[in-house]
Symmetry: C2
Subunit: 474 residues, 2 copies
Amino acid sequence: MSIDARLRALPSAEILDQIRGVVGPKGVVAADAAVPYLTEWRRRWRGETPLIVVPASVEEVARIVAICASNGVAITPQGGNTGLVGGQIPFGSEVLLSMKRLNRIRDVSPLDNTLTVDAGVTLAEAQGAARDAKRLFPLSIGSEGSCQIGGVISTNAGGVNVLRYGNTRDLVLGLEAVLPSGEIWNGLKRLRKDNTGYDLKQLFIGGEGTLGVVTGAVLKLFPLPTEFVTVFAGVRDPSAAVTLLSLAQTATGGLASSFELLSRLCLDLVLAHIPSTRDPLDAPHPWYVLAEFSSGAAGLRETVETFLASALAKGLIEDAALAENQTQSKSFWRLRHSIAEAIAAEGAAAHHDVSVATADLPRFLMKADAAVAKLAPGARIPAFGHIGDGNVHYDVLPPKGAQRDALSPIEEAIEQRIYDVIAEFQGSISAEHGVGRQRKDDIAKRKSSVELSMMRAIKKALDPQGIMNPGKML
Amino acid sequence: MSIDARLRALPSAEILDQIRGVVGPKGVVAADAAVPYLTEWRRRWRGETPLIVVPASVEEVARIVAICASNGVAITPQGGNTGLVGGQIPFGSEVLLSMKRLNRIRDVSPLDNTLTVDAGVTLAEAQGAARDAKRLFPLSIGSEGSCQIGGVISTNAGGVNVLRYGNTRDLVLGLEAVLPSGEIWNGLKRLRKDNTGYDLKQLFIGGEGTLGVVTGAVLKLFPLPTEFVTVFAGVRDPSAAVTLLSLAQTATGGLASSFELLSRLCLDLVLAHIPSTRDPLDAPHPWYVLAEFSSGAAGLRETVETFLASALAKGLIEDAALAENQTQSKSFWRLRHSIAEAIAAEGAAAHHDVSVATADLPRFLMKADAAVAKLAPGARIPAFGHIGDGNVHYDVLPPKGAQRDALSPIEEAIEQRIYDVIAEFQGSISAEHGVGRQRKDDIAKRKSSVELSMMRAIKKALDPQGIMNPGKML
């Protein structure tokens, strides 16, 4: 296996010509058009590659991988190039395989609740195909307009509906992939039950392209909800929010699809930096919950109102606003979706995407805040996230009035201290975003040796030459 | 790897003494008490073993496996011995590892909706621990009183609530296992989101003990439903039943937890062989649907009644009865749960546990019926199953009036013909029950070579000596 992808030799001109021959002129990206493929969108990573190819079919992908396999040439698969950990950016010797021309909706079956798509279909297109068939594909993330299903699967994307519908892993019934040998594996089953051996697709889901190239998938669809209720509530502290979630799920029978937590600091930053935003509640509260409930049956609003009355009576919420219409619901959600932008406007923040068990979230926040305060007195922490999934986006901003980048010199120290606290709670240092380039060393340092050995054994078994996306994850 | 587990040499007396030393006298099963461990409950398979040990802790399991690993001794793990494909029965040289003394409920966290248990806890005990915490662990199968969580996980058990809550795979958050090296892997995470590498637990779920011994698990809990509605409806044909399911899910927002199909023949056999059963409907119908809806919110009965009125108006159901109370609901369910017993009372049937995509179910039944009729004119097929999962228990009985075992000589031919039809629909020849001993040769013959190669590569990578449950699955 390649220890360091940067040390690989470049493929010869003959091999590159063979690969070009597979896709023809339409499938080759010219050198002067390469920048968008080689630059991570926040400009954190810039890559190099001897060749960018854009195959138009699964068979072309297979032929390209076969040529690479025969010659020990490495490959980096790329979807919409929206990943946050650099998994999609090659180091230098890898052929870059863009999947964007594999963009067919292959089949929609409302009776089966399945949607079969090429890997290069965008998430928004998949959502739309489901909606056209009066079904819901519930996965929803910020980059849905441009991220592709292959990337979503390879990173096991999460998002705002995980509480009700699960991560991408829970939404995939079947998979098609080109293996590191160049063979096509057709696992495109539309079955809800199949106990005939190891569930191989699970290795490719969240596999970050290190075991093969995902080329197609069968996705699970759900009934389209017809009623929605959005609640914005002020709460005392994260502990009250966790108890509130439990009450909400019991009182509605699990109809919450999102349950988001944000601190007052988050709201303050949004109100300060994002135009036309306003606080939905009359008085300030230390923390807020933004919850969305949905149902296909009548009576949802009454059910949620009963729950809120009970929560008020129990002292779990200090105040709450129910969206009266879709416009108001959107304005509540805009507050939540603007947090990242508001933080960026305020200063250079260190970003962490961590998770713990939901019940541990309040204690994690206390311990992590204390740990950060020791290293960086006065640092501000606009914590927000998906409380139902125990997932916090834990960002650290310089003290008020300090330089934008005042914390840059100790950013790494802060990160490692936060990861130490995560370890105390047996949490995850990458809840949603993956490992890629960014957290490869952290994983190597922090995962148990038993687990790392199993991962390496699997990688070696399925990609003995180490040609698939080398230098990422492992 | 062992090609044939039956050809292995028996372990030496010294090695067996070392293993006995780990568990002490309490942990060794005497020869005269061995029969229940070595006999499959329907007496299809009888095994042999040099030693049955019953370890009392994860550490004891690890020490036993380490001794076996050092000496190339094979191991068969066993839970409640309720499996239907012989996966839990050793061939002759394997040490039999019974998990029944690992029976602690380790932790219940209602706020996290998690339940952490030892592998030897029975499914019924796990359900009970959840209920005591006012939560639901939704997995429900016929053997739940004696099957154990370790076995349930290793066979990825399904059952009657898969439509709403998924298979066992969907209900496991974390796993602890002893690896073929004797190392303990602690993957007991209670996280809803964790994208830090391959999701290793997926290999052990449905792995049939071929990659290690599952010793503990973190299970997902759900809000406890408070309202239940049970419907028994007569329908024209399976196609109407499939459309009815789609309408039910749309009209209730996905509140159906079970959606079972049975033919009139099934009901006739139950009414003939099972005492105190009666037809809930006034006139006979060609097919029936038994559906269960559940919710934690008020208004369920009205929602289901509205759905049924709409289904009647659309001609999707011919007649329907709603259970008025729990007793009546139980009497509806008794009809469904007695089918297997009634078929057994009628004659020796060939059993098949197959699945196709839900929308393909009607065409599969027609094609399979025609194929069986060609081989065995007059054979009777009491088909029933979980329509929402595309899963049919497709049994074949001799013609009326024929000898009980009239079909035995052509049973294998019938099975292969049914599997051929399943292949046409890209279905599964083992939807719920697994591979074990029984379907090992079928899998070898019918799976793609690409898929078999991947499975074998994983087995070899994680169990290079082939000591874990040899001769099963692969």
